[in-house]
Symmetry: C2
Subunit: 357 residues, 2 copies
């Protein structure tokens, strides 16, 4: 059956990196029997400029019909002064929510070829391989009530609500336990249960689930300690599960530990195997359009798509191997460059992957 | 006028490190004209064990009467199974709130003598000197409504509210601008204004204040990016101001960057110069009572007390210089030890500081 893939390039470096990912998909279709149909839709600032909306109805409809979305990046100074609900970011938040993409998988892997790029000492990060599972459609990002008003004394005030119910926690918990089971059998749940009621419920539900996964060791850690431990000894972690907000913060820190944030993919999954795949890095408007961006994060996002939605783990392995060869051969975009390697443009790097496939 | 100092040793290593801090205060009183009166009160698990309450009325009353509180550390596995409101942590939260200690100052400094202890590469952290100013009596730690209940479908749910009004933001903002003014004249305000209404108000008020402090450069950063930048290039920061929750997470990460969290003091200030001074590290129950804990964080907390509450910057300088000499001489507690230095017990380290004063 033909799988429909919607490409949403977005803003900044999004279009140029997505172009390379599409070349990869094209060659997999032509030479390796991948049965796909590609479509493209506007999102983010690009959509605001054309349609006045970061997630136009037509884009949302196309995303609903697709089996998987390949997402570039969104945002930039051009749209920073709009009110929040009209900014590029809110298009992404609506997309996650409308598609029910509750499980955000964010691997933080150190590529041995790039160990020099980490700010951490080699022995602290060598071999790092963490999977952060972030809840993506609940918590304080979406909790009601949220808004602004006046106190009794007439002062401006504003509020957001961090809210979870047990079904939301159980759902992401199961995903995380399954992932931990397929990895190192260790799951660390991160919360702030010593202060927050909502974290206590989170912890209770995780503990209840643990009974069903007795081959996985569940531990709990407060979020402030988790932030410390990520800096002190990140290799202690295997799989981490946490809320939307804590996951936003910790997954970015974890990604940066590797020094190769331009290399890291992510997947946002619904309950039925549909996913949105995007690089962890942002739209980098300062280098957009110059061929400087690293296309490997979005190409590795294609690999995640092949594995999790398209059921072609064989091709995912091929893509990941091609990325490994490119690094072994010394190809580097500017973000991962060092003295002994040759600099490649976005297109050259994409071309190298295509050639190897 | 005699200043009243209340010592609240708390749990774990709290009592043994506070003992060394008190020796320092005693010698300053005896030999350097510091006019103080010391009292002691129970807090945390130690108070639960005796009075059934982590902050008994008598302890709170003593803290109210004091000019400054010297706080050790609280918590431990012995009290982890109590319900949250009865745990040691809630005593600390109530103390902060009741005393109006809205401004939490958390320096993250790399001691050149201890550079080897950081997980980060020397060029990334050498000379690191950040001051994180965390709002401490508002936000999601105290926002109403908070609680647990049932959804319409009968599921357990729980919620907390992240709420700020403009007066709370302005108050911490002024403190932070003043601190930035006395330091490197750069203030980075951290929020999540692309997602949270409460962060947008935070950012608006910071921008309004900036007009009054035109010698301070104000920038804004999203909290996820701040977590990344702390790992990638922490020296870009001078003074950081943020909310209670974000400050909890980021200040712990920043402290750990230095590799010497056993060295870092903190101050929690009200509007009138009263402060609670405590080490950044926790109660470390695993090493309690063995003379292994590093007393320098609490001794440096005494230095902050001398500077911010007791108006004896001269003595603060002396204490900080004594700590520097002790490190120069190679004295190390276990947490900051390396191959070439001699190991000192809690008491030996405290004694060394006392001798130098
Ligand atoms: C752009 C922003 C709304 C988003 C988030 O906070 O979820 C981003 O930081 C991310 O992590 O994907
Ligand atoms: C013990 C806990 C309630 C506290 C907090 O979260 O504020 C601690 O982590 C801190 O940072 O002082």
């Amino acid at each position: 059956m033909t799988s429909r893939i919607l490409v949403m390039p977005g803003d900044g470096v999004g279009p140029e990196i997505c172009r390379e990912a599409v070349r990869v998909l094209d060659v997999l279709a032509a030479d390796h029997g991948l049965d796909i149909e590609l479509d493209e839709a506007l999102v983010g600032g690009a959509a605001i400029d054309v349609e006045g909306d970061p997630l136009p109805e037509s884009s949302l409809a196309a995303a609903r019909e697709a089996d998987a979305v390949l997402f570039g990046a969104i945002g930039g100074p051009a749209w920073d002064n709009l009110e929040r609900a009209k900014r590029p970011e809110s298009g992404l938040l609506r997309l996650r929510s409308e598609l029910g993409l509750f499980a955000n998988l964010r691997p933080a892997i150190l590529y041995p070829q790039l160990a020099h790029a980490s700010a951490l000492k080699p022995d602290v990060v060598s071999g790092l391989d963490i999977m952060i599972v972030r809840e993506l459609t609940g918590g304080i990002y979406f909790g009601k009530p949220a808004g602004t008003g006046r106190t009794e004394a007439g002062l401006r005030e504003a509020w957001n609500t961090m809210r979870y119910d047990e079904a939301e926690i159980e759902r992401i918990g199961r995903t995380a336990f399954e992932i931990a089971r397929a990895r190192g059998h260790r799951l660390c749940s991160v919360d702030k249960a010593n202060v927050l009621d909502v974290s206590q419920l989170w912890r209770d539900v995780m503990n209840e689930l643990a009974g069903e996964y007795d081959d996985v060791e569940l531990t709990h850690m407060y979020v402030d300690n988790a932030a410390m431990q990520l800096v002190r000894a990140p290799k202690q972690f295997d799989t981490v599960v946490t809320t939307n907000l804590f996951g936003d913060i910790l997954s970015d820190a974890a990604a940066m530990l590797t020094g190769s944030i331009g290399m890291l993919p992510s997947a946002s999954m619904d309950a039925n195997g549909k996913g949105l795949y995007e690089p962890v890095h942002g739209s980098a408007p300062d280098i957009a359009g110059q061929g400087l961006a690293n296309p490997l994060a979005v190409i590795l996002s294609v690999a995640m798509m092949l594995r999790y939605t398209l059921d072609r783990g064989d091709l995912a392995d091929k893509v990941e191997a091609a990325v490994g060869y490119a690094l072994d051969r010394g190809l580097r975009t500017r973000d991962i460059m060092d003295d002994e390697t040759q600099i490649a443009s976005t297109q050259e790097m994409g071309g190298a992957i295509v050639d190897m496939l």
